[in-house]
């Protein structure tokens, strides 16, 4: 069976220790980091100032440090700031999760959704709307997270050979299967119950709008654990990129590395999907972009992916606010529309690497 999988470029051949450091690469990383940080700062400033009620950066600063009048205070503290923070957290989480997923499936199309988390979360959300009548987004978030986690566990179990962890291929297959099953169930429930459909269709399009600020402190501990696990997974991913056997011979415990990686993906994606709904494409394109800056070394790739994901998501959210006045375009849609042409251009330009 032939499946689309990429080989890591030969540059990564020296893997366990990471590719050899060259001056050009180091310079590229440094410049990339500066550009990324600048972009992130610009996106954050735009995100707190731009909207139906434009505020100047000075006003925002005033509101943050002391007060800028009751209206501006409310806008900044209750709406813009939480929304921006949510965007930062979600973007960083999805960027990390995407990179981990592509590393663990050795597949350039690896998206966190491949682990079944998106549809798993959707099923939990739908069940919870239909059976318990919960409709507030804070409540849904935790059901979504639980659903995502359950789906990830199911995918892991179905994809695993007894006594050994899943292979990249079986993981992708199991993810597809579980996604289908949950998708069919979701469709069936939604079609039989119009009220559920009404709430669900808005959840289904990922968005940063109208989330309860209380969600932020609740998300944090899970995300922190996820980030730590993800970053710790970097060296093992470098070895896994050469195939499970090579990784084993280099002294890595493949099964454990995979569990750590999948746990991190589940935490990062699950919490994000719960809070914002499914946001496509960040996890898919961020790793490709970041790889252009850092090269294939996952120890660098992972933190850069987090920064890039955060900048991208916040920027896309800002764009969604201004393109279709007086309404807003959900961030998921914006990302798909600007992300896909980019992705297609990438596929057309790059020499296709496969295993």
């Amino acid at each position: 069976m032939t499946t689309p999988t990429t080989a890591t470029p030969p540059a990564a051949a020296a893997v366990a220790a990471g590719p050899p450091e060259t001056g050009a690469r180091r310079r590229r990383r440094a410049v990339g980091l500066l550009v990324l940080l600048a972009a992130l700062a610009a996106a954050v400033v735009a995100s707190v100032t731009v909207g139906t009620n434009p505020l100047s950066p000075g006003t925002v600063w005033q509101a943050l440090t002391s007060t800028a009048g009751p209206e501006a205070d409310v806008i900044v503290h209750e709406i813009r700031l939480p929304r921006t923070l949510l965007g930062l957290l979600a973007g960083a989480a999805l960027g990390l999760a995407g990179t981990l997923m592509q590393g663990h499936t050795r597949n350039p199309l690896g998206d966190p959704g491949l682990l079944g988390v998106t549809h798993g979360a959707a099923l939990a959300v739908v069940l919870c709307i239909a059976l318990l009548g919960v409709t507030d987004l804070l409540g849904l978030a935790w059901f979504g997270f639980a659903g995502a986690a359950l789906a990830a566990v199911a995918v892991y179990l179905v994809g695993s050979t007894r006594g050994r962890g899943p292979t990249p291929l079986s993981l992708a297959l199991a993810g597809t299967a579980v996604s289908w099953l949950t998708y069919s169930l979701v469709s069936a429930i939604v079609l039989m119950d119009q009220q559920t459909m009404e709430s669900f269709r808005f959840w289904r399009v990922g968005s940063l709008v109208g989330r309860d600020p209380a969600i932020l402190p609740q998300m944090l501990p899970f995300l922190l654990v996820g980030v730590v696990l993800a970053l710790a997974n970097g060296p093992a991913l470098n070895a896994l990129a050469l195939g499970d056997d090579v990784a084993r011979s280099l002294g890595h415990r493949v099964g454990r590395a995979r569990v750590v990686g999948l746990l991190a993906i589940t935490l990062l994606t699950g919490v994000t999907v719960g809070a914002c709904g499914p946001i496509a494409f960040v996890g898919l394109i961020v790793p490709h972009l970041a790889r252009g800056i850092t090269g294939a070394d996952y120890r660098w790739l992972l933190p850069y992916s987090a920064l890039l994901g955060a900048a991208l998501l916040v920027a896309a959210d800002v764009i969604g606010r201004v393109v279709a006045p007086p309404g807003e375009l959900q961030v998921g849609i914006v990302l798909a529309i600007i992300g896909a042409p980019f992705f297609i251009a990438l596929v057309r330009r790059r020499r296709l690497v496969r295993l």
Binding site: M1, T2, T3, P4, P108, L109, V158, G159, S160, T161, R162, G163, R164, S170, A172, L173, A174, T176, A177, V178, S179, W180, L181, Y183, S184, L185, S187, A188, V190, L191, M192, Q194, M197, E198, R201, F202, R204, V205, A280, F281, L284, L329, Q330, G332, I333, L335, A336, I337, G339, A340, F343, I344, V347, R348, L352, R354
Partner: protein, 364 residues
Amino acid sequence: MTLLASAPGAPVRRRGRLVVRIGPFSAVLRLRGAATVVLGALALLGTLLASLLIGHSDVPAADVIATALGLSSDNQFTVWQVRVPRAATGALVGAALAMSGAITQTIMRNPLASPDLLGVTHGASVAVVAIAVAGGVYGAVSGLLAQLGVPLAALAGGLLAGGVLYLLAWRRGIDGYRVLLIGVGMSAVLMNVTLWLLTRGEVTDAGRALVWITGSLNARTWENAVPVAIALAVLVPLALLGARSLDALGHDDDTARGLGVRLDRDRSVLLLLAILLAAIGTAAAGPILFVSLAAPQIALRLAGGHRPPLLASALVGAVLTCGSDLAARSLFGAFQLPVGIITGSLGAAYLIYLLVLRNRKASA
């Protein structure tokens, strides 16, 4: 003919094959493949018959058969305007989607590839959902326009998306892997557009649109069945003629070229055939989940061999779709589930079964 002066031995007998030679005409008949086709045809007949006999209004079996054979005209409407066209649409659409899947999987050398990745089904979905939430055809207009407008829009959307994909994927030739990657990208955009459109309209319109994008055979009439039948009558023979190229395309590009296959031409023609088949099937009944993906794999396992057989895949697809529709409309009483939900669940179960089977084999 002998290559070298070594003594030619007795001809090698190959098990399970029948060689037919008449004059310049010669062909190999694989017995297991042929048996699969015959069994598939019988199963299809059985499913069609069951679809005629079982239905919402209670008509005795004898009366149905009498009407179907033209001996009686008591239940003319139920039989000829409701059940027969619905069953026929199901079978034809299933066959078209499955054949499209078989071609796609062979060209891409990937058992998980499906016409969904050719952009066709998602393109069709965008078109139909756009119409539905614009409050147009589905809601306000009825009659002929509702019957024809949606399939036509779906066909246009599907073909447009398929065409764009083909153009984007062409770069000094068609490469299966590049098609796959670009297909994934396009599908993601179109799917998000669909989701966004679903949030725009009235919830009832969105619900109807959702039924369509899950794939449904509800209220399908001759207007749906006839175009698919005509298209299949043209496209199936073309596809069967391309089967020999498909054999060679299963190899890597160098081997196929070395064997004298005009790679880019053959691959393009077959890809366009797959796009057309999928677009026409989708236009008639929506993107019925999983049929295009699983039917070829089931047929492959039944018939044996190294690539999904075209004819057997089409028959399996027809049986699967028709049978699932029968289940979808009779399992839940008065509520008619879209057939796509049954096929989708079946598909997931089947994939999980395959995986568990494989894993058990691997650990044994």
